[in-house]
């Protein structure tokens, strides 16, 4: 493989470029008018303008991207995460154009992209799923009836949803009635499909996912778990591996369920199986992400493997670089912080120009950056500026290193969530490690209350 086109932007585009450069693969990128000065455009061997800032007119223009790949002689397209990464129609078109898609088979993307369908596939494979409806709900009346059978609170979800969009928690019939149509509308607008379904809301839960990898020879391995319970608006903010406060028995059940899930769909390439773990340590399948995750560096830090390189090897038709599960070890503890351009208290977006960006001493700290000083964080894309990944021998040491590092980072020109990390990292809730998906919302409500006093 000599040339890869990256159909993405920001930090993930730079992350993929880094591995490609190390492997001697040249890189083509595509970009929007808003991203013309971004570092990933400058780092690539070739760069092509797609169109205006809006994603519909640039990064989602599948045909234009494929045409550029063909014209430049790219052997493969890496979709990164978000955008077209889990778009089966795009993956199919890429292959029809004689280019390799860096991801799993098209039918796997299709199957797992439909949450209702993937629930069915997992159930059939013996993987435990969250109690809920097995088919799309057509009317509010049907939704109300189904919710009574499941029991409130319930989650109303778009079958094609993702990234925290297209889901809402409903405490009662009134809330369900209020949200039913709007979730359908949002699902149609964001994902082009208005099918919705219901799942039981699992209270006092942890959000834990397992990184898996499969090849074309039937080999499937896992690369341990990541705890992604620190969230706001159903979107992850901090991820860590290993997950603190997980019993060994639960951990092994998670790994088995993840590998069973991957085998059930003959999974090839990098994937993540997301689970909810309840207060009784019951494990429930939530969804399967058929792409590289934002938080993949946490796994890279504890295993020492380059996941992008593994993806490329599999697409080249090679076996997994490590086939025996016992040869994959997890060493130490890693934590990733998503540095967002947003108000650290209200969690509202804060677009603007980064007037100053000083990471300080990055020795021993991984910063996967998307922007540099002078960069403009526009309202058109997600608010992720960069990711900070800290690895140490123990969780305590990783937290200590994180506090020391993050407290010295200087970002000016827009608001970021670094002040939130600086406080949250010293909270009893996070230090104890026994936290739930509600931790950040509850903790920040408490902070606001104290500030009001």
């Amino acid at each position: 493989m000599d040339k890869i086109l990256i159909a993405n932007r920001g930090e993930i585009a730079l992350r993929i470029i880094k591995t490609c450069k190390r492997l001697g693969i040249s890189v083509v990128v595509v970009y929007s008018e808003a991203d013309v000065d971004m570092p990933f455009v400058k780092e690539a061997d070739e760069a092509f303008l797609l169109g205006p800032a809006q994603v519909q007119q640039s990064y989602l223009k599948a045909d234009d991207i494929i045409e550029i790949a063909v014209r430049t002689g790219a052997d493969a397209i890496h979709p990164g995460y978000g955008l077209l990464s889990e778009n089966a129609a795009f993956a199919r078109k890429v292959q029809e154009a004689g280019i390799r898609f860096i991801g799993p088979d098209v039918d796997t993307i299709e199957k797992m992209g439909d949450k209702i369908g993937s629930r069915g596939t997992m159930k059939a494979a013996g993987v435990p799923v969250v109690p809920g409806t097995d088919e799309g709900i057509a009317s509010l009346e049907d939704a109300i009836q189904a919710a009574i059978e499941i029991g409130y609170p319930i989650m109303l979800k778009a079958s094609a949803g993702g990234g925290g969009i297209g889901m809402v928690r409903c405490e009662d019939e009134q809330a369900l009635s209020q949200h039913f149509q709007s979730i359908k509308t949002r699902a149609k607008t964001y994902f082009g499909d208005d099918v919705v379904f219901l799942e039981k809301f699992i209270a006092n839960a942890r959000h834990i996912e397992v990184q898996i990898f499969g090849d074309n020879f039937g080999n499937v391995v896992h690369m341990f778990e990541r705890n992604c319970s620190v969230q706001r608006r159903n979107q992850k903010v901090i991820e860590e591996s290993p997950s603190p406060h997980l019993t060994e028995d639960t951990r092994q059940r998670l790994y088995k369920a993840a590998v069973d899930a991957a085998k059930a769909v003959s999974y090839k390439n990098a994937g993540t199986v997301e689970f909810i773990v309840d207060e009784n340590n019951e494990v429930y399948f939530l969804e399967m992400n058929t792409r590289l995750q934002v938080e993949h560096p946490v796994t890279e830090e504890v295993t020492g493997f380059d996941l992008v390189e593994w993806q490329i090897e599999i697409v080249k038709g090679n076996k997994l670089p490590v086939i025996n599960q016992d040869d994959i070890k997890s060493k130490g503890h890693a934590i990733e912080f998503r540095i967002y351009a947003e108000d650290p208290i209200k969690f509202m977006p804060s677009p603007g120009t980064i007037k100053k960006l000083d990471w300080g001493d990055t020795t021993g700290i991984r910063v996967d950056h998307g922007y540099i000083e002078g960069g403009k964080v526009t309202p058109f894309y997600d608010p992720l500026i960069s990711k900070v990944i800290v690895h140490a021998q123990t969780r305590e040491e990783a937290i200590r290193k994180s506090v020391a590092f993050l407290s010295k980072v200087e970002i000016e020109g827009l608001k970021t969530n670094i002040p939130l990390f600086n406080k949250f990292l010293e909270s009893e809730e996070f230090i104890a490690g026994d936290y739930l998906t509600s931790v950040l919302t509850t903790w920040s409500a408490k902070q606001k209350e104290e500030m009001t006093k």
């Binding site: 809006q54 949002r186 977006p349 677009p351 526009t378 058109f380």
Partner: protein, 71 residues
């Protein structure tokens, strides 16, 4: 007359009212999408909507007047 202004730059996701409609304080007039988040823009005064300056898909800047309400 009160102008309903955008609180940040973003794309108009939904327009929830029509000209001539009576609105209450706090009622969502427009929902913007900015950085993959939906931002509701609410009426600060009650009254009748006399003008709507945007449609779904429009890009607006902070402080742009989205609608006018007369109480």
């Amino acid at each position: 007359m009160t102008q309903v202004k955008s609180t940040m730059a973003g794309t108009v996701f939904t327009v929830n009212v029509a000209v001539g409609e009576e609105v209450a304080v706090g009622q969502v007039i427009v929902v913007l999408e900015s950085m993959k988040m939906e931002i509701p823009i609410e009426a600060e005064t009650a009254g009748k909507v006399t003008a709507i300056n945007v449609k779904v898909g429009d890009f607006v800047n902070e402080e742009d007047v989205l609608a006018t309400v007369e109480g």
